[in-house]
Symmetry: C2
């Protein structure tokens, strides 16, 4: 039995003094910053009200999260999802409203039925009014449960390559769906493995032997009576993953599965009874809906995950003491080491940078949405290129940032109880889903090369690439380390690099074509450099939008001051980590790099002072963080111990290994075994 003096009473509300002191003199109004991050005090109020409801309900408890098997995680997610839908129904919270978003935040996204929402959204986007009238009420009332079956075992990003077929049979007025070979099996769709009754299947449409490309079909895959697979359907779970084990990602194999003609979603094209294929309207609006998912995932999933990792690592780093900074002194808080600051504080600055970037992007897309509703699709290529590259760099940097936070917590960051490993394993998926990052960056690059050409020939270019038309500056004129703290200095440096890297890749491309290479081959030989150019473009925009957002915080002096430090830290960390980009053509000199480094290290020490208030402002509850290292009160060691004691590895049945294997070994020794 454990001595109770090592355990904490749950009623205790004291805060670890090493953490407490960090909150005594913030340089800014923390609550005010929280409301800015939430987009207004009213949002903060609604969010906290939702959190209070969710956290007081034992069904939503995530206490045992780290102890669950794949099956248990799945069952818990379904249980929570049903309970949540019931609760939202009673509270009259809409699935598209703000409360829904805050519920998801409070629950760390560990609820089922996410794909059911995608199922409904795809019907709303792709179906005729009759189809909507038939399917949406069934789905809204959970008479059916939907999934979205796009990705195949052999094809993800390259949609044109899908191999599932839907052949129209005029005599029966049905589509016959088939999985002609193993690589055509649908693979990965969420909620397909064990839950869904219906799914939208994307398949190559064949009419009278002719292929019309990929189209969406509603297919019932399980009985509404007993949930058994429908005739011709083989369906199951794809097994354990790095994370997302609460989600039943599934496989689907179709053998002569017949659906009526009405089940092809037909807003944009229809197959008539006689097999005539009719196209109508513009699919561009649907295309817009697809790219907006990428933008939403950044603010709803990716950046909050990065924020959580910062909270955990920074709070832990002021409670953890290790070794001496000054011989003979008390052991130092690890956040007081420059090397620890260099790990964590740029990640913190990145979380803020991406937050403001998301705000900027959301505005851009709202504007785009208004135009598109008026059938003006001019901004679509720009929005596509912008969101593609942004999704890639935000997910890449956020994933790396979370892992930096985890590693910075040393051994305890390796325990699931810290909460950090699951933040990483979960976020790591975002680099692949909703478009593989390298593929996306090359799409952005293709747009940039085109715009650069237009800019050079004096044609108008969209706003986000207008900077390509300007003459590139030749030299950075900084003479003192403090100059590097000026936003116009570092924004200009990023602009310069973005133009240079793109111009250099485009010049190589052109030279190859001029020397006789085919366009596709020349493109292929430049892809490494084109990816680099797309990243430089996006990095420039993140720095620029952060600097502009800081500018707008004018009325909140304390907040503006610390945000300017963070903006500088983000920008200088990017230069510090990629000095070659800035030195390459002599835009900055080695001496200037040294000045910049000095400024960067100064900023680490400045931001260090407000590090805890800056993560407190993110305002995630202990229940949402679910971390033994990151709780508000900082009682790290007690919580690790208390949580470990609850682990199933400490139950009697965990120790069958002793009876079965160790006891005979100890009793007989090796030689007599």
């Amino acid at each position: 039995m454990a001595p109770t003096r090592y355990l904490r009473s749950s009623a205790s509300r004291d805060v670890n003094p090493d953490l407490d002191i960090e909150r005594k003199t913030p340089s800014f109004d923390v609550e005010k910053l929280t409301t800015i991050l939430d987009g207004g005090a009213e949002n903060t109020r609604v969010r906290r009200a939702v959190e209070a409801v969710i956290h007081s309900d034992p069904v939503f408890s995530r206490e045992d999260k780290y102890f669950l098997s794949q099956n248990e995680s799945y069952e818990a997610a379904v249980k929570k999802a049903v309970h949540l839908k019931k609760m939202m129904h009673q509270m009259k919270w809409s699935w598209a409203g703000p409360e829904s978003k805050y519920c998801n935040r409070a629950l760390g996204g560990e609820v089922a039925f996410t794909l059911h929402t995608v199922f409904m959204e795809s019907i709303l986007a792709l179906s005729t009014d009759e189809q909507t009238a038939k399917w949406i009420p069934l789905a809204e009332n959970y008479r059916i449960l939907g999934s979205y079956a796009q990705t195949e075992l052999g094809h993800g990003t390259y949609i044109r390559g899908f191999e599932t077929t839907a052949t129209f049979n005029i005599s029966t007025q049905e589509f016959v769906l088939n999985t002609p070979k193993i690589s055509a099996m649908k693979w990965w769709p969420g909620e397909l493995g064990r839950s869904a009754t219906h799914t939208v299947v994307f398949a190559q449409l064949y009419i009278k032997g002719k292929c019309y490309g990929v189209h969406p079909f509603i297919v019932q895959i399980r009985s509404l009576h007993d949930h058994s697979p429908a005739p011709g359907v083989t369906v199951g779970d794809i097994g354990p993953k790095m994370d997302f084990n609460h989600n039943d990602n599934g496989y689907l194999l179709l053998q002569d599965v017949r659906v009526p003609r009405e089940n092809m979603l037909s807003r944009f094209c229809e197959v008539l009874a006689d097999g005539t294929y009719v196209k109508r309207g513009s699919e561009k609006i649907n295309y817009f809906n697809m790219i907006i998912i990428r933008v939403k995932m950044l603010s709803n999933e990716v950046v909050p995950t990065l924020m959580k990792a910062c909270i955990i690592a920074i709070r832990y780093s002021v409670v953890r003491r290790q070794s001496e900074l000054k011989p003979g002194d008390q052991e130092a808080k690890i956040l007081d080491y420059q090397t620890q600051q260099q790990k964590l504080l740029p990640v913190l600055a990145t979380a803020y940078a991406f937050h403001f970037m998301n705000e900027y992007t959301n505005e851009l897309f709202s504007k785009g949405y208004r135009e598109i509703k008026q059938k003006n699709f001019d901004s679509l290529p720009e929005l596509h290129a912008f969101s593609s590259g942004l999704k890639a760099i935000v997910t890449e940097h956020s994933t790396a940032g979370v892992e930096t936070c985890r590693k910075a917590c040393g051994g305890h960051g390796y325990s699931l109880l810290s909460g950090l490993p699951s933040l990483y394993t979960r976020l790591a998926a975002s680099c692949t889903y909703e478009g593989e990052n390298t593929v996306l960056l090359l799409q952005t690059a293709r747009f940039l090369v085109k715009c650069l050409g237009a800019a050079h020939s004096g044609q108008p270019v969209p706003p986000s690439v207008a900077y390509l038309s300007a003459v590139n500056s030749e030299r950075c004129l900084v003479r003192d380390k403090r100059d590097f703290l000026q936003p116009d200095v570092y924004v200009e440096a990023y602009r310069h690099v973005a133009i240079r890297v793109l111009s250099s890749a485009a010049a190589k491309l052109q030279a190859l074509v001029q020397s006789g290479a085919e366009q596709h081959e020349a493109w292929h030989q430049c892809t490494v450099q084109l990816v680099h150019a797309a990243k430089a473009h996006c990095h420039y925009h993140v720095v620029k939008s952060f600097a502009e957002a800081v500018e707008k915080l004018g009325q909140e002096a304390g907040i503006q001051r610390i945000m300017k430090h963070l903006c500088g830290l983000f920008a200088l960390h990017g230069i510090f980590s990629n000095t070659g980009d800035f030195l390459h053509d002599g835009y900055i000199s080695g001496d200037q790099v040294d000045m910049m480094t000095a400024s960067y290290l100064d900023l680490l020490a400045i931001v260090r002072k407000d590090a805890v208030p800056l993560v407190d402002a993110f305002d995630f509850t202990d229940e949402t963080l679910n971390s033994a290292l990151g709780s508000y009160d900082g009682h790290v060691y007690q919580r690790l111990y208390q949580w470990a004691r609850k682990s199933p590895s400490n139950t009697k049945q965990a120790n069958q290994a002793y009876e079965n294997y160790l006891k005979p070994l100890f009793q007989n020794g090796l030689s007599k075994l």
Copy 2:
């Protein structure tokens, strides 16, 4: 029921044609390279014989690895360990012999009793002859099972800060061990949580109120009769981790636990019956043993893990086809995309670089060991500095490399069945255990700063830092991209940067001290740059040792040629990724960076051709790889499907969620729930 035509007969021996063709015309003798990697044909023979024995025994099957809970993983590891020890006993294979190493390799390290070996090694290193005679036979015959309890909840790297106490009681001739506060609890030791009966506890020794620092004590923690905790002992498992769930990492809380005076391991110091503390001999040999563990883990754990990730990702990348390189052509193998080559081939080159680095290091330490046995400890500081920095950069680059491989496999790399997630989650721990990487790099930096000072004042310096005494070259003289393929060119560039970065950090340090800062404060303000200097030093040595190893392969022309390409790829990738280091003082120019980039991209295309033979040469069995993506025959999709079908998520009991939650929902709809 699944249609059998999508499944593979296990008897089938055909190879996927896209993979098969990659093996048709290797530019070198693959089997010969395997024997070189193994350190000789005899080693290859022994290894394969061991693998045949292990893989033919069903107890050692790892088929269900990805489906196991923490408890099941632990039980499987204990079962395998007992079976293995029995088998090795029968085969007369020693625990320190080569077969033992190959068993561990074949089993992917997923066996228990690793810490029992550490327990024995620590007794051999730290105890008197009488103590060895008492404990080793018990341990060798598994009458007791040992652990090694060093790390505490509040202290890892900083050993002097340990808080566990061992107070000598003269009247009873016992040490009384205590955990005075929660942060003093032993936390993390392997095999402590559920298995071990004994452990070596490191504690602050107190005699008559005076503290003598940290000493090792053998403590019995569980009954040999029924395995219940010994009096005063609270012991348990620390719960789930990112990986290593087969290992019962544990916690240990001691309350007045008494051990006889003879249980302090006393090779280097003893407490006499009257409480007199006697020191004897040199602990340096023990210190040497500690650092040699770091060197061993690189060749036994870290680099093989990196190799496995390369095998999986590269084989998959020639089977996976996606999108078109040339419009209208068949979809291309993803390894034919420059961006995919840029991800995977530098990692492959890194695996070879680290392999040859390990060979060099092992030689260096064999030489050091011979000297130390003759009581010559002169090389100890150098060996310590060298192994510290090397451990840090090898684990850091290997961990990042494995994750690059995983991400390069897209969605399927996220499935546990690919084998890649567990390679990553496991290797990630290596950045923390056996010395946290940043702490280690700063130890290397301290040695380097000292040696630089010595070199500047004309004193002799150890061989690995002799290059600091030479005059640093001013300019790289390359005029053509092909020049960058010359080892002397890139080795010299790395040497230049290593000197420059270190000199710059040392100059800052000196300037701070001269301007009045205290030594410790000046050091603190330079740590980010000192870490950089230590990395540059290590990177230089890896490049240099690879180039030297290639030189020695003279008699094997085909192998030497491809190894020279890999060496160039490794070196140029390092420059390409850190151009700023080389541009900073004008050692290379922007134009030269462009030449280097062109050479680097050329090398990608060259190494691409031999990529599959180069990973085949690592010669890991399918059973050891345990990957649906990486098997020798390349039947990726069939294997993913077959393995997924076996997942417990597809059993009936997995689907209680339907009966419990979904059925009532579908039957009643949301509104009536």
